[in-house]
Every structure is written in structure tokens, then in C-alpha cells.
Amino acid sequence: MAAATEREFPGPEALADFLRSMRLGIEDGLDPLAAAERAAVELPTNLRGAVDTISRRLRGEYYEDEWGFDEELAEATYPLFDFLYSTWWRVEATGVGNVPAHGRALLVANHAGSIFPFDASMMTMAIMKEHPLPRWPRFMVLDWAFELPFLSSFMRRVGGVPAGPHNARRLLESDEMLMVFPEGAKGTGKPFSQRYRLQRFGRGGFVEVALRTGSPIVPVAVVGSEEIYPKLGESRVLARATGAPFVPLTPTFPWLGVLGLVPLPSRWRIEFCDPIDVSAHAPDAAEDRRVVFDLVEQVKETIQDKLYENLVTRGSAFL
């Protein structure tokens, strides 16, 4: 028992050895980080790895791609989102095999919840956990969220990109998988009584981008996201004061303050539908409004049908 705890946490002697060895390193002319790395041999193996990782990151020796996506950091958030996925929301994902394992793809889903795109994170978790060839998707985030401190840089590191056709096109052209929520703020800001009723799908920009880049469209129906922050009303005053598109009033927010931001533990289902191949159309079809609107309607109807189906399958929202 004592031995087991000693392996996990360093005793005071090990810590003292670590610090002493670090000091020697610094006196040898190493910089503090290099000294810490050298001194880490005094520590148990599990901590040694952590010291290495931390000092490597502090030295800037990690990779981030041209969009600012940092895979190592995204992986570090895995346990938190895995908890939300498996325990908190008990997500059941179906049809994950419909997500292409390689190449460009556009995942189109209904949007609900709040400023933080939990639906995007749960779709990511479904792909990372259940897909035979997992890959990190990117997701488009409402512009306004990118003005916010902390949240903007966090979302960028885990794969968020400001919503817009230029970014979408460039991502797809570099063969990434992209998740978009064409309802945008209209989807997240609708009252609880309107839940699971799809709002207008913007101007169909996502279809234009898919046609231009020849990316297959995978409609995704997400059930459960509407109940995490049931929006009963909204505060115009707070919205104007913060510049937010809307500020929801839920049974818990803002009455419980920060605690009110804890999402309710609803039960989720995510269905990835059959991909829609747009390669039959020429890229110029993006300028043909009829083709674009037909495809928008097709995607929207698929998602709406699957939403109702999964609502019935799910049964009770919370139990």
C-alpha cells in the first residue's frame, strides 16, 4: 500500500532530490527548463513524463498548424470531454461509419446549446471514440465568440475557426473535415419551446462551399443539446451590454451565477447520416441558386427527419 502510493506521488526526499539536482543544473549554466528536465530523473516515471512535456511546451517545442490547431492540447482536453460524453450526457452515436476516413468532408448539424459549441465537441468525441480511423475535425464558430478573451484562443487551439466561406473553402481545399452549423445564432438562441425545430439554414453558403470544393456533405442530427441550457427567455439589456447576439435566461442562469453555467445532464443521441455526394455537379453549380437551394432543403429535411426519429428512440430527456 505504502509502496503503491510512493510510486504515484514523490515523497519529500524525492522532491528535495529533484530540486537539489535542478539547482545544480542551473549552477552548471543550464537554463531553468533544461535543468528541470535533467533533474526529472530523480522523480518517479509518471511525473518524469509530465515534467518533460511541460518543459517542452514552455520552450515552445510543439506543433500547431497554420490555423492555430494544437493537437497535443486538444488531446489533453480529451478526459474532460470524455467525461461529458460517457458519463454526463451518456451519448449514443450511430452511423459514425458514414464519416469519411480520409479527405475533405463537410459535416452539417443542427445547432443548440450556448456560446460554447458543446454539440461540436460531442461530435468530435463520437468520431474520436467510435470511428475506426479517428481524425480531428475542425468546426466553425460564430464570429462573436472569437472576440472573447480566453474562449477565443481555447477554441482556436482545439480546432475552432471563425465562420465564413473563405475559411471553410481553404480548410476543405487542404482536405480537412469541417463541421458547420448553418443555423448559427438563430439555432442556439431559439426558445426552449422551439426545440428541435430547424431554423433557416443561412443563405446556403455551406452548400456553395461544398460544391466549389467537391466535398461530400454528411448531415448530422444531434439530440440532447437542446436540453443542456433550456432557454426560457432572454435579456436584451445584458445582450446589449456585452455585445453578445443573445443572453439566454435558463432555469439556472444567471440566477446561480457561474454554477448556472453547468449544463444539465440530458441524454444525447448523435446520428451521422448517409453522405450526400455533390461531385455529380460541376463546381460552377455553386452559382446556380436552384441547385444550391435544392441541396440545402435535402440536407435540412434529412436532419429534421433524423431529429424526430432519434427523439422518439431516446424517450425521456434526462433519465
Binding site: 530540486l19 535542478m22 539547482r23 497554420e66 473563405h166
Partner: protein, 336 residues
């Protein structure tokens, strides 16, 4: 054989370009125009002392019988003897006078202007990689941006009226290099670097060698229209400071500009120009495919490599930590 005139030859980039073009056997006449003599030695460049803002340059330019004009006289930030108030005059009026002079030079074939990517602005929701057609899509917020936009307007009109001339506007991202004295480079060399709390912009700093290389390549290639000059990829400010081993000092963003001005005065680093504060909050990325494919210049350093190279160059002058961690640790645990 070509005859080239460089305006703003006393500026860092004017001088660097002149040095590079002097070695080019294709060029048999090289002239450098500025209101003050170039700070370094030039071998065969004919120095012409003139102020761009004065109408005299019309006669001067015609006399040189040049076929290429490279305009390096656009200032991004105030310099000693060239205060912020004079920037508009120098940038906009100077360019206008130069274009007027170009109209009266019958031998002219090509005009290249060293402009700035600041025309795109820095916004949270902006395209992450601006292509050349996306200029002025966002509000022009700073004075420098408005100046750049105005002179690009004049330049576009000039190019339209003179289809026989090859007119190229280069939009440079900010440069990085140990020899540069720009406000952003001085900012990166502060012992403690203030950042804006909660913001971690994606930036592209162009390696100084690539900046000169791209300028020389654009002067030689007959390319029309705007061209972005930027490294491949992008890097976040936090990673950049880690690579530079500079501790960050996050301050709430309304206090950032005053804090930096204060720190800058104390340490002689000077203030950031208007575009810089927004750049260090929202960042800016531009697409460099036109530079690579049409101008044919492939930057040698990508965004991260440029920072690494800068870090290696300035490493020798690193200051030691004030609080020696070893001493601190010894006191804490009370060992020998």
C-alpha cells in the same frame, strides 16, 4: 539591360534592396532617391537627394531614364525626424508625387510599391488567410490603414490609366530580424513582454532575408496587381514568446497600449504603431500563394522558422533571471 530607381533608399529596406540589386549584372544603372543619404555604403548606386513630396522629382526621374521604379519610401511607423504627423504626408502625398513623376517618364515600364498587409486590418472574425482580393472588406480602423488604403486607391487608378506599365503592389506582413529596429521587433526584445490577457493572436512575421528576397524578386518579375508577402503558416504569439524565452506579462487589453507605452519609454523601445496593438490582439494571416506561384519567390523561412532564427540570433544577449531559481529552492526546502 535594366535601369532601376529605388525611392526611400535611406530606409532599411531601400538600402538592403540596393545592396542586392548592385550585385545583379542585369542592371546597368541603379539610382537611389531619398531626402537623406543612405546610412550604409553603396558601391555603384547613384544617390539622388530629393524629397518625394516636392514636385522636383518629376524632372529628376525623367532625367534618369529608368525603366523600373521600386518605391520603398512608405513608412510604417514614426522615425527620428519623421514624426507621426508627417507619416500621412510622406506616405500618401509622397506616393502621389512619385506617380505623377512616373507619368512623365517615357522610358518607364514597371512600378513596384512596398506596401503593407495592414490594409486587411486585424479582426477576430476575419478570414484566417486573406487573399489579395479581400482588401478593404473590413473597416479601416487606424490612421496607417487609411493611409495605405488611400495610396493603394491612387495606385490602382494609376495602373488602370497606364495599362502599358506593369504595376505591382506588395503587401508585406511585419518583418522580424535581429538588425531591425521596428517597434514590433523592439517589443519582442523586451525582457518581459506584455500581452493582452486572454488573447493569443496568430501572427506571421516575415524573416528579414525573405523580405529583401521577395522585394528583389518582385522587382524582376513582371507581375501586375497586389501580391501578399508573408511566410508560410502562422504562429501564435504565446508559442513565439516561448521560443524566444521571453516571459509574458498578460495585462487586460484596455491597459495594454498604455502599459506598453510606459514600458517602452522606460526601456527605450518606443510605442507600437496603431496597427500593432490590434495585431497583437487579433492577429492576421495572409495567403502567399501569389508570391510563390506567380512571382516565383518561395520564402526560405516559414512563420515558426523565422522566429527560431531570430531567437538564435538574439540568444547571446539574453538577460539572466533576476530571481535565481536554485537559490529560491534552497531557501524553501532549507537544505544546505
Amino acid at each position: 539591360m535594366r535601369r532601376v530607381l529605388i525611392t526611400g533608399v535611406a530606409s532599411h529596406w531601400g538600402l538592403e534592396l540596393a545592396r542586392r540589386l548592385e550585385r545583379d549584372p542585369e542592371i546597368d544603372y541603379l539610382a537611389g532617391l531619398d531626402s537623406r543619404p543612405p546610412p550604409g555604403d553603396l558601391e555603384r548606386t547613384d544617390y539622388i537627394e530629393a524629397d518625394l513630396r516636392s514636385p522636383v522629382i518629376s524632372r529628376l526621374l525623367t532625367g534618369t531614364e529608368v525603366d523600373t521604379v521600386v518605391h520603398c519610401g512608405i513608412l510604417w511607423y514614426p522615425e527620428p525626424g519623421r514624426p507621426a504627423k508627417a507619416l500621412h504626408e510622406i506616405n500618401v502625398i509622397g506616393t502621389l508625387q512619385l506617380l505623377a513623376a512616373c507619368e512623365r517618364t517615357p522610358t518607364l515600364e514597371r512600378v513596384v510599391v512596398r506596401g503593407s498587409a495592414a490594409i486587411y486590418g486585424c479582426e477576430a472574425s476575419a478570414p484566417q488567410f486573406f487573399t489579395e482580393d479581400l482588401a478593404r472588406r473590413l473597416p479601416l480602423r487606424t490612421r496607417f490603414q487609411r493611409d495605405i488604403s488611400e495610396l493603394e486607391d491612387y495606385f490602382d487608378n494609376f495602373a488602370r490609366r497606364h495599362p502599358e506599365l506593369v504595376c505591382c503592389m506588395l503587401r508585406f506582413q511585419p518583418e522580424i530580424g535581429p538588425d531591425l529596429a521596428t517597434p514590433l521587433v523592439r517589443y519582442l526584445r523586451l525582457p518581459v513582454v506584455p500581452t493582452q490577457l486572454g488573447y493569443d493572436p496568430r501572427v506571421q512575421f516575415l524573416h528579414a532575408d525573405d523580405a529583401t528576397g521577395a522585394l528583389a524578386a518582385a522587382a524582376a518579375a513582371p507581375i501586375r496587381g497586389p501580391v501578399n508577402v508573408a511566410p508560410d503558416g502562422a504562429i501564435s504569439l504565446s508559442r513565439m514568446l516561448s521560443l524566444l524565452r521571453r516571459p509574458m506579462l498578460p495585462v487586460p487589453h484596455p491597459l495594454f497600449a498604455p502599459a506598453l507605452a510606459r514600458l517602452g519609454r522606460e526601456l527605450g523601445a518606443g510605442e507600437l504603431y496603431g496597427d500593432g496593438v490590434r495585431l497583437l490582439r487579433f492577429g492576421r494571416g495572409v495567403d502567399n500563394r501569389r508570391l510563390r506561384e506567380e512571382v516565383g519567390y518561395v520564402p526560405r523561412f516559414d512563420a515558426a522558422a523565422a522566429v527560431r532564427d531570430f531567437a538564435a540570433e538574439v540568444d547571446g544577449r539574453r538577460i539572466a533571471p533576476r530571481l535565481h531559481p536554485g537559490v529560491l529552492v534552497e531557501r524553501l526546502i532549507g537544505t544546505r
